[in-house]
Amino acid sequence: MDIGYYPGCALHGSSNDYEASVRVCMKALGVELNELEDWICCGASAAHCINKKLSTALPARNLGIAEKQNLKSLFAPCPMCSMELTKANEAIRSDEALRKEMSDIVETPVTGNVDVVNLIQVFQAVGYDAIAERATRKLENFKPACYYGCLLTRPPKVVKFDDPEEPTSMEELLQKLGAEPVEWNCKTVCCGGGLTLSDEEGVAAMTYRVLQNAIDSGANCVVVACPMCQVNLDMRQADAKKLGLTKDVPIFYLSDLVGLAVGCAAKDLDIERRYVSIPKDLK
């Protein structure tokens, strides 16, 4: 399989461990990632709340590059990126005037016909059964709490992915790979990542709620598909402990677990560089 790849700022910066994980995992699955040439910001962090035109133009430029490279689908591992790209894509496809305006602004034709996908959708495209067939080990000790956060399933009208409040697509995949995902309450509850710079106390409380519920529900790790969730849940555990968090919770990317299942080495997946270290039996 051959898809376009838009890493976005996080995967080339603060969360470059996610990029390592994604690349190694995809390679093992035989998915070739074609990184967009000269990609720019997706508009997620600030543009979308201050300037509507800019918030469409930034992703539009990336979509235009994908179209120029003849890419039918574009994989953005960060849900903020995939949501912004999807939103712009839909808007451009359904509005002729906008299509023209955006093509003029980004100086390349954009039609809005690229299929933007998140990490789970790439696994779905490969096929859960096909992944299970490639698996070289069962994820036996893993009792993950699958965490979707705010943007993987929302806004439902834009992303049109799984049930917005009670998604199950990660659980279905991990079950096939031998893990035992737990039933828990906080799958789509905010981790507080959006307030990470402005309200540290607030973030700690939100992180605590999510992680403690995972522990109380019998999970021995949390699995995410978002660099922001990962860094927030991983890095804030010291603060959450002050609020009563009962133990350390390792935070995995979904690509880590799929990678481990299909035989990638923990070191190659770069799961060593986490705030909460990963116990031996979960490597």
Partner: protein
Amino acid sequence: MAKIGVFTCWCGENIARNVDVDKVSEAISKLPGVACSMNYKYMCSEPGQSLIASKIHELGLTGVVVASCSPHMHLKTFRKACETAGINSYLVEMANIREQCSWVHNDKEIATAKAIELIGMAVEKVRRNHALEPIKVPVTKRALVVGAGVAGIQAALDIAAGGVEVILVEREPSVGGKMAGLSETFPTLDCSQCILTPRMVEVGQHPNIKLMTYSEVDKVDGFVGNFKVTIRKKARYVDIAKCTGCGSCWNACPKKNKIPNSFDYNLGNRGAIYIPFPQAVPARPTIDADNCLRLQSMKNGKELCGICQKKCQTEAINFHDQDEFVEVEVGAIVVATGYQLYSIKKEQENPNIKGYAEYGYGKYPDVIDSLQFERIISASGPTGGEPKRPSDGKTPKTIVFIQCVGSRDNAKGITYCSKICCMYTAKHTMLFKHKVHDGAAHVFYMDIRSGGKMYDEFVRRAIEQDGAQYHRGRVSKIEQVNVDGEKKYRCYGADTLSGKPCVVDADMVVLAGAIMPSSGVQQLAQKLSVGYNEYGFLSESHPKLRPVETNAAGVFLCGACQGPKDIPETVAQASAAAGKALIMLSQPMLTREPEIANVDEKLCAACGACVKACPYQAISIEEIRDRKGNFIKNTSRVNPGLCMGCGTCVAVCPSKSVDLIGFTDDQVYAQVESLADVF
């Protein structure tokens, strides 16, 4: 030579504000064959009608055009006035210059020009009209009522009291419907069963009512006054004529109290042979074939169990019972199929409707819907009326009630208000507080809609006297949590009046799910040729003026199959439907509009295109034979009793051998051509 009178109405200001009526009269008076053209402020009033009558007498008019409102509004009025004045009522036409002109255009000049065109078209049509006589059809003096909830029971009793025989069909083993399962009713708090049970007994005993429970409408043929309905009596395995309802069978059933009882919305249990509730009518059991040991074993050629049959003193149990089809002839049909609650859980059958996975309904046993709560607080319910939560039987101290679950939520695909939830939720809080004095009832609502006699007072009582705590806002999520070893359901809500989040830890949550029409109602509607909306609610003929009639002549509606409604409204509508059915059945002959399809049998090639296209199954292929009985040809033929005059057959006929009397191609083309003159 045509002498057509054209009478333009001002409709007060409704028409005259945007249409220059003098200019219209002036222009129309110049059309050939128009003998008089005048206008008047209220043509439908007594002086207006007299004006038309006097002109008919004075000028000997051969046709009349009234240019005013929609013919739905006043065609009958004007036809009657003209008939009284001596001309055939089908020589009267209306031009709609209100709904289709003055109300929708602002520019007076343009509206006036359009009014002239519309009236000109009507003049061309009426010039080609012929005198017609209404069709007369005989009428079978018997009615069918489908559904025996409170609506069907009331309709059946009223029709029966009018001296007409009624066949009352109910698909469940007992009559009573949803109301039989309710606790107490708003705004008087009288016990639902206490007020309904006497009526249930009455329909079971009334000499004019033939009750057919555990039966469904299978097929509907015929037409107004002359329906032939096939009813499927489902195999009950109990001969209710022999059975005395003694109870030996259901008390002996080895599956007793082991099968979820759908009457209790699966909160209580019953046996494989059961009566759904003690007050059931008929008080005769039914065997649930899917769960009966004997009936299941018979599939494998064995004969296990059979204890009920051995216990029965009257030999009423027959394990070889089969579905039976009964054909009945009726003149009128009343549909009273009621409602069900929208399924709140994540999985939905209808792709346009989404569930509330975030509320955990179906996952958490103590998150229940409002009909389940009715059973929990009903004296005849599985807990004997004691509020106990399903998971562990503990008495809940804090209950959260969430209104508008589905209703008015565009994100879930249901746009309408379910109308009764505000009232029954207030009632729920009261009944709960009356039973658990130190309990807390929290209600999350969007608006409190309590229009109705003594209704708002009732809600105020719940809040002010019984201390229900109302929070204006929605609940975004419900989580099961452990608080000091107690199982709680944490409801993350908002209070939009204080502008703050409002989180309540509840022992139990009651969801007021949206009201949806009963399952299977669309299929029934198709058999009856009755329309329904996107949600499956059946369509009345006119929301204000014909609220219990349908567009299928002889079929009437009442109760929640037409839209969400409470008991008082349902009963009123049921009596209305019964009245309409009685009026119809009291006629010696029924008259029908003569504007129906007519086949030119010489031209017809019997291709059958019209037969397939007809939405009312009114056309069939018939043989034409000479006097000696020799076959000449096939032709399609219209049953004048069934034809509704929609004209679909005219549009599809490839040989133009079918026409609509009163709306012939000739007339319609003349109308269109009259426009060409103007252009």
